[in-house]
Amino acid sequence: MEKVNVTINGKKISVPSDYTVLFAAREAGIDIPTLCYLKDINEIAACRLCVVEVDIKGRPMRNLPASCVLKVEEGMNIRTNTSRVREAVRTNLELILANHNRECLTCFRNGTCELQKLCDEMGVDDIAYEGEKRRPILDQVSMSIVRDSSKCILCGRCVNMCKQVQGIGILDFTRRGFETEIAPAFDFSMADSPCVYCGQCIQACPVAALRERTNIDDVWDALEDPEKFVVVQTAPAVRASLGEEFGMPVGTRVTGKMVAALRRLGFDKVFDTDFTADLTILEEGTELLGRIKNGGKLPMITSCSPGWIRYCETFYPEFVENLSSCKSPQQMFGAIAKSYYAKKIGIDPKNMVVVSIMPCIAKKTEANRLEMQVDGIRDVDFSLTTRELGNMIKQGRVDFKKLSDENFDLILGEYSGAGVIFGATGGVMEAALRTVADVLTGQDLENIEYHVVRGLDGVKEASVVLPVDGVDTEIKVAVAHGTKNAAKVLDAVKAGEKSYHFIEIMACPGGCVHGGGQSHVSAKERLDVNPKVSRANALYAEDAIMVNRKSHKNPEISKLYAEFLVEPNGHLSHKLLHTHYKVKKQYQIENQDDFEELIRK
């Protein structure tokens, strides 16, 4: 790339010619404030906080241009720290605040709000403009997501995340001028819109305009109820993010501290969803081999990600039969805890409360699905996000960083390395291949790392040759993460361009490690770290140190089958661990049937 010479705050620097001034400044070690900017996702110069003073070869540019979209030019002289710039940034912040619900002390994002932080850094000490505020809409119909328009600053980060990254487009700018609101079409609630609850918009939101519906108090109540035996399960991805809630670097693995903290909070047993991730591999692997041998519906697609399930049910109903009938590990855990485990320790399942800690907001809605209960007893009672657990630990006044590592409880806390990597894109596929390859070859294979399905390529493909009924068969697999990539794979399958036996799909880009319930990483931090990479690395590191790295070698899983379930996909498995799906309508209207008839014509 051709280089150009620019001067920033008196410092001469040579940068590639396709750089923006914002990036050139970063290279020069100069921090320009941003708010609407989200690298590669939202670069629209809307908030005007990244403005700079510029002249080119002595000719001043008109006004103060926004550095996030201003390309460098030879001979540019850029000044970021002048009283004119500081005054403009402060004024723009004050104007945003004028139409912002400033209940910062009681706000969900108190401490993690990017607007709050900038006001502090830029020395905003007065609300200069008082006036009318936009109509406040608080949409908390959904079990997963809350939209609060009174906090929205119209930066558009969620809009582009949903539309460009996820390829869905639930939220957009509606109306105009002062009445502008980022909202679903026709003021549908998030629950009635075809939102899949991936929560990527929450990850994109710099303020508290979008957040999860919280269940913290429900869990405190359960913990304080002497009648209740409260067990907790933690999803694999949580251990790679929870530390961030306490200021630790993104992707710090805190498995042992997390277990210790959960015990301090008063959970009777601290278990791991990884246990049922292993169980999923046995159930799903058996289902896959059955479908291959018996001519069942292929490709089979994973069903661990409830965001993906919602996406499939809503946008690709023709693939619902391709979904594995396996419940997700979260739900399998609840079903096993309230049957096998409850019986083992002599507790009435009605008195057991199962809490899950998930990197996910869709899990909350999944736990509430009517299909997700056995004999009228819910598998999972409450599902908390990683962020909510962080809050609970703070409320419980546990000094997280000082905790010593502790181990999960037996027996539902036993897991393999294969279970841990479920949290990263490609992890379920790799875990499945480890087990399926062993089962089909009848060997204990040593070569178990499938690097081709790891990493952040949107769609990853692999094929392995394995003996099915004695005949060498090429098993073709694909991995997609993020709903836009899922659409790519499904469209290719639909068009007959691709054929696979097995597809892993996760709704969130990067998989669960980058789920909508994970710790917030600000747009600024994201310039330096990629949470998808660092958190996945934490999980692969945990896998690498495990003695047992294959799901079918988990001794407690073997015992579970020997003592209780009998066999994978058996009668009891079907009752407890498998489910079915429903086709969902998009933007349901009064005359929906007539509309569908019209579309079919």
């Binding site: 639930i170 957009d172 026709f186 509309f595």
Partner: protein, 161 residues
């Protein structure tokens, strides 16, 4: 939200819209002209029509709704047989166009942008109509009324009902 439109009765209109969508060059943005066409065909852009456009163009509903609510040229409400436009340009405004508008809203019992229950009148506040000498100016359909006195409004409206 407005009353649902009868999809079965309007099948021809949907088909006309579909023919238009299919005739467009998809390599370029087609939303604006499609919404114009839809409004021309249906008179307004109810949810059924926006859903249809979304289904056939794969443009997300929220984006379509966003555009439809951004431009005042699009309406989410059915338009009456006659659109009553009151000029709010500078000349008319200083000649008390607001009083004309107020009286009109009072007489028709609707606000700007709405349509009377019998679907006869819709009210619009327009920009300069280009005949400032007649200020304040009001248009009903294609008929122009100059130097309107709010008192005359009930009589003017009578001619259209």
């Amino acid at each position: 939200m407005q009353k649902a439109i009868d999809i079965k009765e309007n099948t021809d209109k949907f088909e006309e819209l579909l023919r238009y969508i299919e005739s467009q060059d998809k390599s370029q943005g087609i939303l604006m002209q499609t919404l114009h066409k839809a409004q021309e065909i249906f008179g307004y852009l109810p949810i059924e029509v926006q859903k249809f456009i979304s289904e056939k163009t794969k443009i997300p509903m929220a984006e379509i709704y966003g555009v439809a609510t951004f431009y005042t040229q699009f309406s989410l409400e059915p338009k009456g047989q006659y659109t009553v436009g009151v000029c709010m340009g500078t000349a008319c405004y200083v000649k008390s166009a607001q009083l004309v508008l107020d009286r009109l809203q009072q007489e028709l019992k609707i606000k700007v942008g709405e349509t009377t229950e019998d679907n006869v009148f819709s009210i619009q506040a327009t920009r300069c109509l280009g005949c400032c000498g007649l200020a304040p100016v009001m248009m009903i359909g294609e008929d122009v009324y100059g130097k309107v006195d709010p008192k005359d409004i009930p009589n003017i409206l009578k001619n259209y009902r």
